[in-house]
Amino acid sequence: MSGVMQLEPGTAAVAPAKFSVRDLVKTRVRGAGSGDGESFVAVDHVTFDVRRGEFLCVLGPSGCGKTSILHILAGLDEPTSGEALLDGRPITGPGPDRAVLFQEPALFPWLSVAGNVELALRLIGVPEAERRDRAMHWLENVHLGKFADAQPHELSAGMRQRAALARALAAEPDVLLGDEPFGALDAQARELLQDEVQRVWAEREGHATFVFVTHNVREAALLADRVLVMSAAPGRLLEEVRISSPRPRALDDVLVARVVSEIHEQLMREVDKGVAHEMDL
């Protein structure tokens, strides 16, 4: 055999399901809080699996219910009907096995950067003597070693999100859930974070399952083994794209660029439909 590397859909393709989402429906109330809001379907009969070790991106226009799905996987919200299983058991709440990265890095402002990471380690029972070393290891991993003693407000938005990433990963969770984690960052900071995430996911070699929701097509094609494309509200699954291409990937890789343009086209048709639907109302 010559040295041609054929990239089969990774080992994750045959690994057991980490998450199983079956016929999931989530209804929400418009203007919740005012008491007289009308209910609407945010997620409409969605079924998919996430395999152990897989990097999945759920992609869709604003309001397609992708954040609702992520919150249900995180245990922060419950399905209206249908089920969401983690390792075959219903998800009943959040847990230390699932770290969540939000759009705004929720760092405690009164703790140093290292202090934030150490707190996460304390909460999972890491002995005090080990916490500093482990925190420093992960801060160095995201190139923040020199800022360990800084306060969060002294960092740029990109650096704060890197600190949040270090905090999420320091606990070595089985699962990292990302809710538009790089959405609020400028292009350069986002690119750096995307590189970091690709690297740390690859380093865990099939042991870490990452699920990110995003409306950024390029981000999804760059990061994911599999992209689930959702329709505008009510959110349904439209198509699945499996990408077998080595990491680290770059946006100008031929395959990535091609996948981006195909998904983009599909999504634009959905956005048009969404606008048309709103104008009908």
Binding site: S2, V4, M5
Partner: protein
């Protein structure tokens, strides 16, 4: 003209294709066999061959499934 076999998608006759295949190196055959495997498995998608120094070093692919 009427007896001439229908051309293949590449515009060659089957016998021209056979002659072409017979002249391929083992490495070239391996690449083609892998590409053929992928084509058989995929209904909609893209295959990219990465070439370095005149050799295919990597085959990447993306496969698309409609879910509704």
């Amino acid at each position: 003209m009427a007896d001439r076999p229908a051309p293949t998608p590449g515009g060659q006759t089957p016998s021209e294709v056979d002659a072409h295949l017979a002249g391929l190196t083992d490495d070239e055959r391996e690449v083609l066999a892998k590409v053929a495997d992928i084509v058989r498995k995929i209904q909609f998608g893209t295959v990219v061959l990465v070439i370095q120094d005149g050799k295919v070093v990597q085959i990447e692919m993306a496969e698309k499934f409609r879910l509704r």
